[in-house]
Amino acid sequence: MSDPPLDEGWIERELALEYPQLRLVSVVAPVPQRSAAPALRERLALLSDRFHGARALALRREPVPAAYRVFFRHIGLDPDVQRTPVEAAALERLVRGGFESHGVLDDALLVSLVETGVPVWALDDERVEGPLGLRAEPGSSRIVVADAAGPIAALFGDVEPRCRPGRGTLRLRLFTVAAPGVPAIHVEEALFGCFDALTEGG
């Protein structure tokens, strides 16, 4: 099976000038298949076995997590207060003793995050209006993920209810925000890995 086409999101001009390598990339994906659940739970268990305290401590020095930490500093977030997505997952793994399953979609997003260090979010594709992008809100300079209708989420924040996938969702849009310095191959791997996990459990 060939890889699905990736959509390069727009970056507002001022933002692109400030952070030249910042990217938002998305892909349309099918809704999660229940049949993928057992394979995903197995992958989470395997990842739990491979991921120990020493790795969690050293994580911040690995290239991709380090790029997100630096970007967090650049946008006024303290990664020791608001954890980067992969560090939050690592901490959760240590506290709970394993990566816990929360359903096919969340499991696929988590597997992709832990394997690549790149966070992926899911939207209800039918509720997204026009292409996705990143912009700074006038006045506050707050950076948001937005479509033609307005903000969808604060950068690295929760998705607004209007675009969250639900029972009636027919198609997903997976998107990721690549911090400057994150190699393109990791970004593609995160999205394709998540896409595959949703359809086949990986």
């Binding site: 001022e14 933002l15 000038l17 400030e18 401590l57 050293a58 911040r60 020095r61 380090a66 930490r69 630096v70 500093r73 650049h74 946008i75 006024g76 977030l77 303290d78 020791d80 207060v81 608001q82 700074a136 506050s140 300079s141 707050r142 950076i143 604060a154 950068l155 690295f156 924040g157």
Partner: protein, 143 residues
């Protein structure tokens, strides 16, 4: 014309500050990986494009944190070095360091072992001046 130049210069300054912040973050991460506890710098106000002043404050706070971390590490290395020297002396002349203890932790080593100067054969050793260094076994069992 003047305005345009000012904007460009500020952007260059912000880029330079971001470069410095990246370097400091790498140094701080290295220190944390060596065991210095991570501690928050300031309350976050959400993801924003930081202006020059805000970037300077982030850079300065990180620089101070890195300096503290280096001081912590230097102090710890000096303490561990002193403990290693003490252990060497204990091993060479146990009789001069009766009942002295050095834990692996104090040497920067993993595990719960403790080096201790003890009399050979208990009371007889104490009376005869027969001293030896013993390494206790591992960590106590968890309940």
């Amino acid at each position: 014309m003047l305005d345009v130049r000012v904007v460009v210069d500020e952007r260059a300054a912000r880029t330079e500050l971001r470069r410095q912040i990246a370097g400091l973050e790498a140094q701080l991460s290295a220190a944390v990986a060596e065991g210095v506890p991570a501690s928050p710098l300031a309350a976050a106000r959400g993801p924003r494009v930081l202006d020059l002043g805000e970037l300077e404050r982030v850079r300065d706070a990180l620089a101070a944190r890195v300096a503290d971390a280096r001081a912590d590490l230097r102090e710890r290395h000096e303490r561990e070095e002193a403990n290693r020297a003490l252990l060497e002396r204990m091993l060479l002349e146990p009789g001069r360091y009766k009942f002295a203890r050095v834990a692996n932790r104090d040497l920067g080593e993993p595990g719960c072992g403790v080096w201790q100067v003890r009399p050979r054969l208990g009371l007889i050793g104490m009376l005869m001046g027969w001293w030896q260094v013993k390494l206790s076994s591992g960590c106590p069992l968890q309940n």
